[in-house]
């Protein structure tokens, strides 16, 4: 076994070993049962409720829950937007940075509230420490917690026995932050500081390089933001180049830890789902489908990076892996692993430049995002996104067992299907229609750096990343143009709330149904057959929609590369 393969396997094993107990912990937490942390944190939780006037035991209808989500996020947006516009007057601005432009502030505020963390700005030159810590880091926690809360509410809709209630948003939000995100982020930040990630409120340092020129070295309170950026599938780096920056991700160990944090909660949610619906096999089936797609994507990326660029090999006279845009301390394989994980998980942090990956790798990254970030996906968002596919898969194939399709004993009927279709429309709308606008409008097209199919990949990536709430970028795309900051802001809102609201609606419709006990005649939703069905549904429904666009982007680039055509 090569060291590369060994480290990938180690990563996957450690990931699952950590995620299973975390998943079970979260199931107990959201059911209001006693957990390991209850003795320490329960008093804090109670204090928060009494200060905020939250009636923790009050379970909400799906409409009330959705309203709470939207209201909370809208308030978060207004608060963050104001802060970015006013950062010049606010404290902790040692570099004296100016207020952000309106369109960029809109884009940034939407980006962090929707858990996308698309960065049309460069953190070290446009954001004060106050904006980073109080604005972005807070949203890193609560936008992640929002996704987790929605997922929990959706699970309750599938699991409950006809009561029609989805739980309390404020309680789910508080518990997500207090019991899951804060403890794990604290542990992560401390380990990262130990590995050499910076954490300071001091201003930039100016150094004289060996060539005798002056260089400004940016620093700041990075470690505290990085732990949560990975954990909450946020991905917005402290520095512009994200986790490729040596202050943000200095060592192989910090790389491993951050990589684990990217997928930890999304993977754990599969097991939380199994526990909460009272049948662990259901969670394992969803995990198996996600894991299979993840490993398949990883294999393609790792293989195509290892094979390298034939045109460079020709010039260099020697074959080797594709190392353009990669950090030498991570190499091709660990960069491939990170790239696959960060696009699968709707995280968006990078430790290598995605623009420089081979076309087939870029294809995998694009597919991961375009299918709606459901291969583990964002915290919570990945699970409810996958449940959307489950509803569609069960409905399409479920008729073939000769019964009205049902999932977990609940019938999938016209109402659920309508809402699922509605949610499903948001990806092609946000990606295909917006990307088509971007290449059709001359002003927008100027943002594209590269000619030929790679340029189209850049556009598709930008809108795939924003609609999928991923946040990573193909570096070549100049996203700061007002056309794109605005359109992408809309794409991010679409990709977040045009899925959250219908999914909560589906959960609400299912919540009033009494589940029927499974019989020999009911559709089996665990086991290999269902896993295959689910994967095929994701590939056919998600993949086929984008196949023509992908053919003109990464696929065309790949065949041109093989033919030695340049653009």
């Amino acid at each position: 076994m090569t060291p590369d393969l060994a480290s990938v396997l180690l990563y996957l094993v450690v990931l699952v070993v950590l995620a299973v107990p975390l998943g079970h912990f979260m199931a107990r937490l959201y059911r209001g049962e006693r957990t390991l942390l209850t003795p320490v944190l329960a008093p804090v939780e109670t204090a928060i409720y009494s200060i905020a006037g939250i009636r923790a035991e009050e379970s909400q209808s799906w409409r009330a829950y959705a309203f709470a989500v939207l209201a909370f996020n809208a308030a978060g947006f207004v608060f963050l937007y104001a802060m970015l516009r006013l950062q010049g007057f606010l404290p902790w601005n040692p570099a004296g940075l100016a207020p952000m432009a309106p369109d960029l502030a809109f884009n940034t505020a939407v980006s962090f509230v929707t858990n996308t963390n698309w960065q049309a700005y460069s953190g070290e030159v446009q954001l004060s420490y106050f904006s980073q810590m109080v604005g972005l880091t807070v949203q890193n926690f609560v936008s992640a917690a929002t996704g987790m809360a929605v997922a929990v509410a959706v699970i309750r809709g599938f699991a409950c026995r006809g009561e029609g209630r989805l739980g309390n948003f404020w309680t789910d939000l508080t518990r997500s932050v207090l019991y899951v995100l804060l403890p794990l982020a604290t542990i992560g930040a401390l380990i990262l500081v130990g590995q050499g990630v910076v954490q300071t409120l001091s201003s930039h340092v100016t150094a004289t390089t060996m060539e005798g020129t002056e260089q400004v070295i940016a620093q700041g309170p990075a470690a505290s933001q990085i732990a949560i950026k990975q954990l909450g599938t946020n991905g917005g780096g402290f520095f512009g180049v994200n986790s490729a920056h040596p202050f943000e991700n200095p060592t192989v160990l910090s790389n491993m830890l951050q990589g684990l944090y990217i997928l930890l909660i999304p993977v754990a949610f599969c097991f939380t789902f199994g526990r909460m619906v009272g049948d662990r096999r259901q969670g394992i089936a969803i995990f198996a489908a996600m894991a299979t797609m993840f490993v398949a994507g990883l294999a393609v990326v790792a293989w195509s990076e290892a094979a390298g660029n034939p045109m460079i090999s020709q010039i260099a006279g020697t074959a080797g892996p594709n190392l353009e845009g990669k950090e030498m301390r991570f190499g091709a394989t660990l960069s491939a692993l990170w790239g696959t994980a960060t696009t699968a998980a709707s995280n968006g942090s990078v430790n290598a430049m995605h623009d420089s990956f081979m076309p087939l790798s870029g294809l995998v990254f694009l597919v991961n995002m375009m299918i709606g970030e459901v291969i583990f996906g964002g915290v919570g968002a990945g699970l409810y996104g996958m449940l959307l596919y489950v509803v569609l898969a069960v409905f399409l194939a479920g008729l073939m067992v000769g019964r009205t399709p049902e999932y977990l004993g609940k019938k999938i009927e016209a109402k659920e299907v309508s809402l699922a279709v509605l949610a499903f429309l948001s990806m092609p709308l946000g990606i295909l229609v917006f990307a088509a606008l971007s290449v059709a409008v001359p002003q927008a097209l100027a943002a594209v750096q590269d000619a030929g199919p790679h340029g189209l990949s850049e556009v598709l990536y930008a809108y795939g990343s924003t609609t999928g709430n991923n946040g990573s970028a193909f570096a070549g795309f100049g996203a700061a143009d007002p056309f794109h900051t605005t359109l992408q802001g809309i794409a991010m809102l679409l990709g977040r709330y045009a899925i959250i609201v219908p999914m909560l609606g589906i959960a609400g419709a299912l919540a009033v149904k009494v589940p029927a006990a499974p019989t020999a005649g009911s559709f089996p939703t665990h086991g290999p057959l269902f896993v295959v069905l689910l994967i095929v549904t994701v590939v056919i429904l998600g993949g086929l929609t984008f196949f023509p666009a992908l053919a003109l982007g990464p696929l065309a680039e790949q065949v041109s590369l093989a033919a030695g055509t340049r653009f």
Partner: protein
């Protein structure tokens, strides 16, 4: 109704072909969004073809593509028309029995028959009284209030043996379109004109009253959503192509769009629904709504009456168990004698069994006097020569009659019989008890196997009986039902249904009596027997014209088959898209990136041929699947996992593979004929 096919297949096809053109009316097309969109695209490409023709810029392929797009719509219309046509032929034959006649109207139920006034059957209103004599056609539905008659109901049920209809009780319902064979009846009209059972049946088989069923609605929504998504895909393709340095002819985009949207299932969806109802009609079941048929496929629990469904209506002699010192032959002879005057089915079965045991040794003794069964003595039998009295009867009655206590062996036998769910009948000669006859409920042959099939399908069977729990348990075990309800009252039955429903289960039951009506109405699938009371028929949502309670099982199968057919064709339709992409995309993008020719895995001869072949395949596959849509996907009872595996292999994997072969074959033909 005659079960022969009334319309010759050829004329059926001709009518359907004509109708597929008349169904092009936008108003009718609008009911099916996928077809409507296809028709719009076809109209658009036709305009483009005309423009090319006028401009003289060739356009041979454009004309062919628009032609095939129209053919796609026509094929889908043809499928629907064909499905409707089969019902129409049947409706026409029904209609002949429902024609206007002269009827004898009475002022009241007990009015003099001579006072009847002759009116047209169309003038009859609900609540009026009608006299029907031998040979008369019963003009509309009603409830017999006086008289008793034998009625030929073959026009409705296809069963030629006449049935008895009489005032009062559970056999009071009369159906319009049936004929009095002998005697007379006075009945009260229970249906308004045009609302009779016959009218409903005609409307149903014609498909005129057909409304979309819940699953069909959900599926239509999904198909519409997919159509919208593919619209996004195709519309955005042009900007992407322009960016890539090539422009795609609009007609090719139209072709891609129509081949991607689910035209196969969209075109066959209503045909599947109509054909499903038609299959029920063929099984002599009338569904009052499509919802009930679909619900039948979902049924989790079947409540079945023991008598008539699980067992033959009557108990039958199963064995002779003589007491100590008595031979079986002697007991059989006594039983034979005691039953000579017993006309009940039990009595006949005793004679039959005794004759089988005795062979040539049937007793040849002159019978002096027959003693009929009476409620007081609860005995029957004969007196023969020498004053010998031979009796049979219930245990306590015989003990009282003979004044002899049964010996321990006899008691053991009696208890064994009772425990097994049978009825012990003692036989005595004078004061001696000779032994016991074992009367038992005979389970209908094949019932056990059907319940096993139902269990495999995930349907639980519950036997309803008025028997005591001990007897019920024994019969339940023998018949292989999953559960039973002993000493069941109509209220208990209703309670049971509510209980099952509260646990999320769908319940089906059948019944015929008026006291079944509440339970029939409460059940998700209530099958009323045609022989039953009007109240029962009103309460049920399906009516079995054959009045065969086991029909419930077939209804469940038809319901499942309907759902499976839809699911299978949907899966097939969507799986087809993969191959269509591989046919059309390389053809569209060849100008921009010649390297994408590697996607042309089928090796199609030219871009034009590839696109034309995909469009032709898309149209032909509808025709190829019409028989499947009308017949329904073959369904053998099996567990859901087995069904899913098999159907996914056939329709999922098949749907992926078949178009690759089909499009390649058409491409070869298109090439050979020089069409593109």
């Amino acid at each position: 109704m005659s079960r022969t096919e009334t319309a010759a297949p050829r004329s059926l096809y001709a009518t359907a072909a004509r109708q597929s053109v008349t169904k092009l009316s936008p108003r009718l097309l609008l009911r099916n969004p996928v077809l409507f969109v296809t028709a719009i695209v076809a109209a658009m490409t036709t305009l483009l073809a005309l423009r090319d023709l006028v401009a003289g810029t060739g356009g041979g392929v454009t004309i062919q593509i628009s032609l095939w797009l129209w053919i796609t719509v026509l094929f889908a219309n043809f499928a629907e028309a064909l499905a409707e046509g089969r019902g129409k032929a049947r409706a026409d034959s029904l209609r002949t029995t429902g024609q206007e006649t002269r009827v004898k109207r009475l002022a009241s139920a007990d009015a003099e028959h001579g006072s009847a006034e002759s009116v047209s059957s169309t003038e009859l209103r609900k609540g009026q009284f009608v006299l029907v004599d031998a040979g008369d056609l019963i003009p509309t539905d009603g409830e017999a209030v006086a008289g008793v008659a034998s009625v030929n109901e073959s026009a409705i049920t296809g069963e030629s043996a006449p049935v008895i209809r009489e005032a009062g009780g559970d056999r009071s319902s009369v159906t319009g379109g049936t004929t009095i064979v002998s005697d007379w009846l006075v009945f009260k009209v229970t249906a308004e004109p045009g609302k009779s059972f016959l009218d409903k049946m005609i409307a149903l088989v014609e498909g005129a009253e057909r409304q979309k069923t819940p699953n069909e609605i959900a599926l239509s929504i999904l198909l519409t959503g997919l159509t919208l998504i593919f619209l996004f895909v195709v519309v955005t393709l042009q900007p992407f192509a322009l960016y890539s340095g090539t422009s795609i002819p609009v007609v090719f985009l139209a072709a891609l769009f129509v081949t991607l949207i689910p035209t196969t299932i969209g075109g066959l969806l209503s045909a599947i629904g109509i054909a499903g109802m038609d299959r029920l009609v063929k099984a002599n079941v009338i569904a009052k709504s499509g919802r009930a048929v679909e619900a039948a496929g979902d049924v989790d629990v079947l409540l079945l009456d023991k008598t008539g469904t699980i067992t033959f209506g009557n108990r039958m002699a199963d064995g002779f168990l003589p007491t100590q010192g008595v031979s079986e032959k002697r007991l059989a002879q006594a039983a034979w004698l005691a039953s000579q005057a017993d006309d009940t089915p039990e009595g006949k079965s005793i004679v039959e069994l005794a004759t089988r045991v005795l062979g040539d040794d049937i007793p040849r003794i002159a019978i002096k006097e027959h003693v009929a069964f009476s409620a007081q003595t609860r005995l029957s039998g004969v007196d023969v020569e020498h004053g010998t009295t031979i009796r049979k009867g219930a245990v306590d009655a015989i003990v009282k009659h003979t004044g002899t206590e049964p010996n321990p062996i006899l008691i053991g036998n009696i208890e064994n019989i009772a425990r097994s769910g049978g009825t012990p009948l003692l036989v005595s000669q004078d004061s001696q008890i000779l032994g016991v006859i074992h009367l038992k409920d005979i389970i209908k042959p094949g019932v056990r196997e059907r319940f096993a099939e139902l269990r495999a399908m995930g349907v639980r069977t519950v036997m309803i009986t008025g028997d005591n729990p001990l007897t019920a348990a024994a019969i339940a075990a023998e018949a292989g039902v999953d559960d039973f309800m002993a000493e069941a009252t109509p209220e208990a039955k209703l309670e049971r249904i509510r209980d099952e429903q509260a646990q999320g289960r769908l319940v089906a039951m059948c019944g015929d009596g008026s006291n079944d009506a509440p339970a029939l109405a409460q059940a998700d699938v209530g099958v009323a027997m045609n022989s039953g009371t009007p109240a029962a028929k009103e309460a049920g949502n399906l009516i079995d014209l054959d009045s065969d309670p086991t029909k419930l099982i077939e209804i469940v199968m038809v319901g499942k088959q309907l759902l499976i057919s839809r699911g299978a064709l949907t899966t097939f339709s969507i799986a087809n898209d993969a191959a269509k992409y591989f046919a059309i995309l390389p053809a569209l993008f060849l100008g921009a990136y010649p390297g994408l020719a590697t996607l042309n895995v089928m090796g199609l001869s030219s871009p034009e041929s590839a696109i034309l072949s995909a469009v032709i395949f898309n149209a032909l596959v509808i025709v190829a699947l019409i028989p499947l849509a009308l017949r329904g996907v073959r369904y053998a009872p099996a567990s859901a996992s087995a069904l899913l595996r098999n159907n996914l292999l056939i329709y999922g994997l098949g749907g992926l593979v078949v178009p690759f072969i089909g499009i390649k074959a058409i491409d070869l033909i298109v090439g050979a004929l020089n069409l593109a």
